[in-house]
Structure formats: structure tokens, C-alpha cells
Point group: C2
Chain length 351, copies 2
């Protein structure tokens, strides 16, 4: 029997509850499809930091390289200053494991309420491919005369041909495989970011030439935000840099019904990838059995897809659809009409 | 009789039609309130560039300094490579006239359709104060090994204490004057842009201390985009940098019904300010008498407000509300149920 080794980082707040239900579903799906998941829980997060004074143990990255994938709950603790855990865990792992793609499907399931008037599941179904290791996330910059009236603060976006090219190529390959509208839209700001997006645009057109079966489109990030709300059906695959990707994927999460359902993958197609519900740790709901675990369940399905277990992934997706359409009153924490554990059970019952 | 000298730049595409109706309304409102506008048309834009080979005449900025305000139609010509006119006219004037605030009211008028389900005029009523002369718009950056596999493209956000402070101060002052929910929200990304938004956050808190009557709030740009769609009623005044401001104001324009109504001001409170409908030149509708002129009309009202003619500005706003609620079928070009000129006439009839 095929067995995958999964590193599980439940994290903070409601992260452990979400991950618990996610694993319940993953193990059940694995059973049905005849493979197994061997999970190792790593207790990193806010508590670990407060207890040990270090965000991650020194060999954390080396440890993680031994697994087939990483399954993450949520990071963020009310007693830890904002930024420390995000940078020290999430961003560090993305960078050091070279997870150069952030993949965010934006898909409205039947029965789920979207805040966008007059749009349904046939309109909201696209994928954002976000570059995940460069741009403004490089952490590059500094201060001149900090704290004086003459202070200057600099923040630098660094974009490499290699980084942009592998991201753009992934987007075209993914678009072809996906078999949707066969269109890749570059989201940029060529008229203002004349260096960064000059590179992006050149690479986009060069690489795109190799995919004559796929339509190429370009739009400025400001227009993309408008159209996501007004005409989401125009999009198939959107490719963009790290910062713009961060912004438009959260907007996308809203379109598909919010943080209760939105999942993402941090992919290194040649290495170890990490999957997460994209909402935060929602500390105020901790231990109340009210958080929606579907985002973690969907992140788990993405993980199985990446591991090549497409049958199990599709099975989970179908079960989630049935739970959304036939059971839940709302996707919002505390308003689902079911407890966190019951939602996990419902998904399992539909597998 | 008080007379204001206005430089009018009708610009490209449907810009002249929009400006024509805007001026019709402005002159009528001035007549009712007992002041006058002396307008000078400057024919800068795509045609001028194609004819002369220069984007602006050498003394353009000096010329403009002689006016009380600038009234702009739209810039953008199908035969001119994207970026040239935007940078050469719009961004250049913002920078050289030191129009350091981009002010964007986001207000849904009764009778106007918003793409956001279940939200009405009582929910969508906030203002974005965007820094307009710094950040990623500085144009700073460059390439290393351009065109090779080792290429690096750099784009730098430059933020000065002076630039950030005057913007943040404007936001608090504006919030106090506005008399709304009395809350200023800083839109940033402190957990990633740890230099740029460290400065912004420090200045926001320092300056905010001087306004004990105003609530201070902070949110990351990605969360702001979600909440604008999900809970727009949470916002009163949002202050942010140039790039994030560009993104969230276009999203805001959608909430209030789109480009047919969205207006903005590029303010130099100590110098010459410029007012514009924020939509593009929409060349395909040129000369067809179908473009919606209300955004230009609203930009005109903002201009009068800035000139101190608050009575005339309020008069126009009320008239626009009546036209939206009582006449127009839609705000979209070609679907208003009236021609461009008729919409101008309708506003005048309600002044
Ligand atoms: C937590 C934060 C650093 C992170 C990001 O900005 O990438 C998050 O918003 C995300 O999108 O995964
Ligand atoms: C045309 C473009 C350069 C401009 C900007 O990015 O500022 C526009 O989008 C705006 O918001 O006024």
C-alpha cells in the first residue's frame, strides 16, 4: 500500500480544530482509494514561540524536507506581536523550501452565498497563480535618518528572470491541464511599475508563444479588481506577482464565499509543498467547535491532487459540494447549523 | 463677481464629451450661486502628441500654475503606446504640481445599482485618501543583465516622512470635517513591507494622537479588499500609499456603481489641484453621445468644493442624486436611457 509522509503543523487558535477535521476526511478518502497517510504533528506556532523563545527549531527546514507534503492549520497568536510568526514560519518556509507558486482556486460551489449580486457557480471559477518567493516579499529595503523629519523608507521589489519565468510557465501549463476557457491573464501595472512589469510582460509574451492553444490577456491590477467583482466569468487563469497576488487572492476568497472555504497551496513542484486554509487562526472561536473546517478540507484535497491522488481529491471535492449544497446554513463560523466535527463527519459520509 | 480661472484639458476619446456636459453643469451652478468660471481649453492628449511629437509643451506646468484649478477629461489614445500619456501627462502633473493627495469618495447614490449583494446607500459611504506623489510611483528602479537568463528587475517604493505625514494629517483633518463615523483606517501591509509601512504606521499613530476624537484602525490591504466587498459600512476614511490606493479606489468605484459615476481629485491644498472622472477615455464610444457624463459632473462638484464654493458643490450633488434615482435606467454607457447631452440637461434642470 502506498503511504505518504505528511508533516502536520496545526498551529494556533482554531488551526488544530480545522486540521483535525481535515485529517479525518483525508484518512477516510485514502482508505477508499487504497493509500495511506502517515502523519507527524509538529507543534510549531505561537505557543511554541512563547514557550521556547524561538519561532522554529534550528533544523525545522531540514526536518520538513523529509516529508512528501506539509499540511498547515493557521498561524497567529494574540500574545505574539503581529509579523513575527507570519514571517518566521509562513514566509520562511515558502522561501526556504522554494515554494515558488501560490495556487489559489477561486470557485463558487452550488449553494454557497457570494457577496456579488447576480453571479453564480458558472461565473466564478478561476485560478490565481501567484509568484511566492520574490517581488516585494524579498524583505529588501531600509531606512535613511529613521525617526527624523527627513526620514526615507525604502521597500524594494526584486524580480528575477528565473523566478518570473518558472511562475509564468507554471500558469500556462496549469491552464492547459485545467481545460477551462484556455486563457491566461497577466495581472500587472506596466504603466507605472515600468521595470518589474516590463520583465513580467516580456516573459509572459515569450513563454506564451510556446502555448498557441492558450489565449493571452493583460490587465492592470486595478482593473482586475474591478472585473473580479463585475465580470468574474472573464477569468480562467490569472498570473501575477507576490504582492498583487496577495491582494487579489483575498478578494477572490470573498467571491467564493469567504474564509470558511478558501484554500491555497504553496507549491514547489520539484520539492516539498505546503497546503493551508487561507483564513487566519480566528482565536476568538478557539475550542468552541464552531469554526468551519471546509477550507482545511479543501486544502487537503489540493494536497492529494499534488501528490498525484487525483481520484481521492475529486472524491473530497464532490463531497464538499454536497455538504455546501445540501446541509450548511452558512459558511460562517457559528452559523453553519452544525459543529466543526459534524461538518467533518458530513464530508466523510458523502465520500 | 468672483471669477475662478479653470484650465480645461478635455483629453482623448470621450473625454471632451464628458467635460462638455460637466462644464454645462458647472456654469449653471455658478450662475445660481453668483460666481463665474473663466475656462481655458488646453488641447493636450493623444492627438496633440501624435501631431507634435511631444506629450506636453515645455512650459505646460508653468502655464497650469496660473489657474485656480484644472479640470481633466480623460487621457488615453488607441494609437499611442500605453504608458506614454499616463506618465507624460497624468503622473507628471500630479508630481510636478505636487498634488500629494488623491481623494476618492466612494458613495452609493439611491437608485444606483451596486454589484455587492444586499448593500445600499447607507452601507457604502466612505472616502479613500491616497498618497499621490511617492511610493512605487516614484519611478525608481532598474535592470541588471536585461534580456539574459540572469536578468533582475528592481522596482523601488520610496516613502518620506514629509510625504507620509502630510497625507496622514490630511486624512485626519478630512475625517473630522466630514463628520461621519469619525474613524481613520490605515491600509498597509506591515507584516511584509516592514520598512515602508513601519514608517506609515509610526506616523499614523503619532499624528493620530493629535486627534483624540477620531478612532484609529489598521488593516492589511488584502483584508481591506475583502471587507470593502463584505462590510463596506465599516469604513469612514481610509488612508494608504499610492499603489494600494490605486487598487482599492478602483474597487471602490465598482461598489458605487462603476466608472459612470466615480470621480477623483488630485489635491495640492496649497497649490493647483486637478479633478477628473476616474474612468478611461473609452475610445469606442467617442462621438456617439452615449457616454455617462456624471463622473465628470461629480469631479466638477469636487472642484467647486475645493475652491470653497460648497453651496454650488452641494447643489450639484443633490441634482446628480435626483438624476440617478429618478431618471437613468443604468449608469453604463449606452444603457442610460438618455444621451450624454440629455443627462447633462437633466442635472441642470435639477440644480
Ligand atoms: C500572513 C501573510 C504574511 C500572508 C501573505 O501576505 O502572503 C497571507 O496574507 C497570505 O496570503 O498567505
Ligand atoms: C492611469 C494610471 C497611471 C493611474 C494610476 O495608476 O494612478 C490611474 O489608474 C489612476 O488611478 O488615476
Amino acid at each position: 500500500q502506498k503511504t505518504y509522509k505528511i508533516a502536520v503543523i496545526p498551529g494556533d487558535g482554531t488551526g488544530p480544530e480545522q486540521v483535525r477535521e481535515g485529517l479525518k476526511v483525508l484518512h477516510a478518502a485514502a482508505g477508499k482509494e487504497g493509500f495511506a497517510l502517515e502523519t507527524t504533528v509538529l507543534d510549531w506556532g505561537g505557543e511554541y514561540y512563547l514557550r521556547t523563545g524561538e519561532v522554529l527549531p534550528p533544523d525545522a527546514v531540514e526536518q520538513l524536507k523529509r516529508y512528501d507534503a506539509i499540511y498547515l492549520g493557521a498561524i497567529g497568536h494574540p500574545e505574539v506581536r503581529p509579523g513575527i510568526l507570519e514571517k518566521g514560519i509562513l514566509l520562511r518556509l515558502r522561501f526556504e523550501l522554494d515554494q515558488y507558486i501560490n495556487l489559489r482556486p477561486v470557485k463558487l460551489y452550488p449553494g454557497v452565498e457570494t457577496p456579488i449580486a447576480g453571479k453564480g457557480p458558472e461565473d466564478i471559477d478561476f485560478v490565481v497563480v501567484r509568484e511566492n518567493t520574490e517581488g516585494l516579499y524579498a524583505g529588501s529595503g531600509g531606512f535613511l535618518k529613521r525617526g527624523t523629519p527627513d526620514e526615507v523608507a525604502i521597500q524594494t521589489s526584486i524580480n528575477t528572470r528565473k523566478g518570473v519565468e518558472r511562475c509564468v510557465r507554471f500558469a500556462f501549463e496549469y491552464c492547459r491541464k485545467r481545460g477551462g476557457r484556455r486563457k491566461v491573464t497577466l495581472c500587472g501595472k506596466t504603466n507605472v511599475l515600468t521595470f518589474a512589469f516590463d520583465l513580467w510582460e516580456r516573459v509572459f509574451n515569450e513563454v506564451g508563444e510556446e502555448y498557441p492553444d492558450i489565449e493571452r490577456d493583460y490587465a492592470h491590477v486595478d482593473a482586475i479588481c474591478m472585473w473580479m467583482v463585475k465580470n468574474p466569468e472573464w477569468f480562467d487563469v490569472i498570473v501575477t506577482d507576490n504582492m498583487f497576488g496577495d491582494i487579489i487572492t483575498d478578494l477572490g476568497a470573498m467571491l467564493q464565499g469567504g474564509m470558511g472555504i478558501a484554500a491555497g497551496g504553496n507549491l514547489n513542484p520539484e520539492g516539498v509543498s505546503m497546503f493551508e486554509p487561507i483564513g487566519g487562526s480566528a482565536p476568538k472561536y478557539t475550542g468552541k467547535n464552531v469554526i468551519n473546517p471546509l477550507a482545511a478540507v479543501c486544502a487537503g484535497a489540493m494536497m492529494l491532487e499534488q501528490l498525484g491522488e487525483t481520484g481521492a481529491a475529486a472524491r473530497i471535492e464532490e463531497a464538499v459540494k454536497k455538504v455546501c449544497a445540501g446541509h450548511l446554513k452558512s459558511l460562517a463560523a457559528g452559523r453553519m447549523g452544525y459543529g466543526t466535527d459534524e461538518v467533518g463527519d458530513l464530508v466523510v459520509s458523502h465520500l
